[in-house]
């Protein structure tokens, strides 16, 4: 309950805060609370994967890109003019989902049963081997694609940058 309230509050601040760095830090809180939810439902391995990948890697990546693209601060530069319509759509989605959930699952309870990491590993490598391999190829493709896209391409007209090799620099200076 507490985890849910804190996570919800942080998510709300994430989409309404005026400073992009604050938004990223609220994202950290939200993701940590989602990880806490996983712990509550006794999905231990998934909780640590969440903390490692999201809080550890993705948020750092997002912060780096925020620093690289200088982001202005202020409501008018961060939000566009459709804010009212967007709030309406969001509230509508929330109302519809709450109605559906209340209609279908009111009073149901989850019986907590700790899931050990060994069970997850067995399930992955027995039943889901092919998706696992496909997802690894996808990750490799995304990695190479990101490097190719973000690489600074050298224009042919510019003079080639003269690179001094690191090894042998001392000898050259000495001569």
């Amino acid at each position: 309950m507490v985890v849910g309230v804190v996570g919800g509050f942080a998510a709300l601040r994430l989409v309404t805060s005026r400073n992009v760095v604050h938004a990223a830090l609220y994202l950290v809180v939200t993701l940590a609370m989602v990880g806490g939810t996983y712990l509550l439902v006794a999905a231990e391995f998934l909780a640590w994967v969440q903390v490692l990948i999201y809080v550890g890697a993705i948020v750092v990546l997002l912060l780096f890109s925020l620093m690289l693209t200088k982001a202005p601060i202020g409501r008018d530069t961060l939000d566009n003019q459709q804010r009212g319509i967007a709030a309406l759509v969001g509230a509508g989605v929330l109302a519809g989902l709450v109605f559906l959930i209340q209609d279908a699952f009111a009073g149901k309870r989850v019986i907590l049963q700790p899931v050990r990491t060994a069970q997850v590993g067995t399930a992955i490598f027995r039943d889901f081997v092919l998706p696992f391999e496909v997802v690894s190829v996808l990750l490799l493709a995304a990695l190479i694609g990101a490097v190719v896209i973000a690489r600074k391409d050298e224009s042919p007209g510019a003079p080639p940058e003269r690179r001094v090799p690191l090894i042998g620099r001392e000898e050259r200076v000495a001569r």
Binding site: V115, A123, A142
Partner: protein
């Protein structure tokens, strides 16, 4: 440990949490101008989906939901890598990452 084993949690709590995260993500995607913030909101929506998957995995006593959540996390990592690369490239070319000023493909 035995009391932990016997403990239950109400399913609608988890589902409401997921629904709230998803709505916040929808609002963020629709209302934000900064492309990095739009990506963050998309991450929020993916996390909402993961919360639902894990909740139902516990409810049905099956592991498939958790495995699926793992795959969703992996694909989200790939997506955010590509997305940030594209954003940085756009920033280098156009000096802005406001999604309403990047209208080259419109009309």
């Amino acid at each position: 440990m035995s009391c932990l084993l016997a403990a239950t949690i109400r399913l609608p709590f988890l589902l409401f949490f997921g629904a709230f995260l998803f709505s916040c993500g929808v609002y963020g995607v629709l209302a934000r101008r900064n492309a990095v913030l739009v990506l963050m909101s998309i991450e929020l929506m993916l996390n909402a989906v993961n919360v639902n998957l894990v909740a139902f995995s516990g409810y049905f006593r099956q592991l498939t939901g958790q495995i699926f959540a793992l795959f969703v996390i992996t694909v989200a990592a790939a997506e955010i890598g590509i997305g940030l690369a594209i954003i940085i490239l756009i920033y280098r070319n156009r000096e802005t990452i406001n999604v309403d000023e990047i209208s080259l493909l419109k009309w």
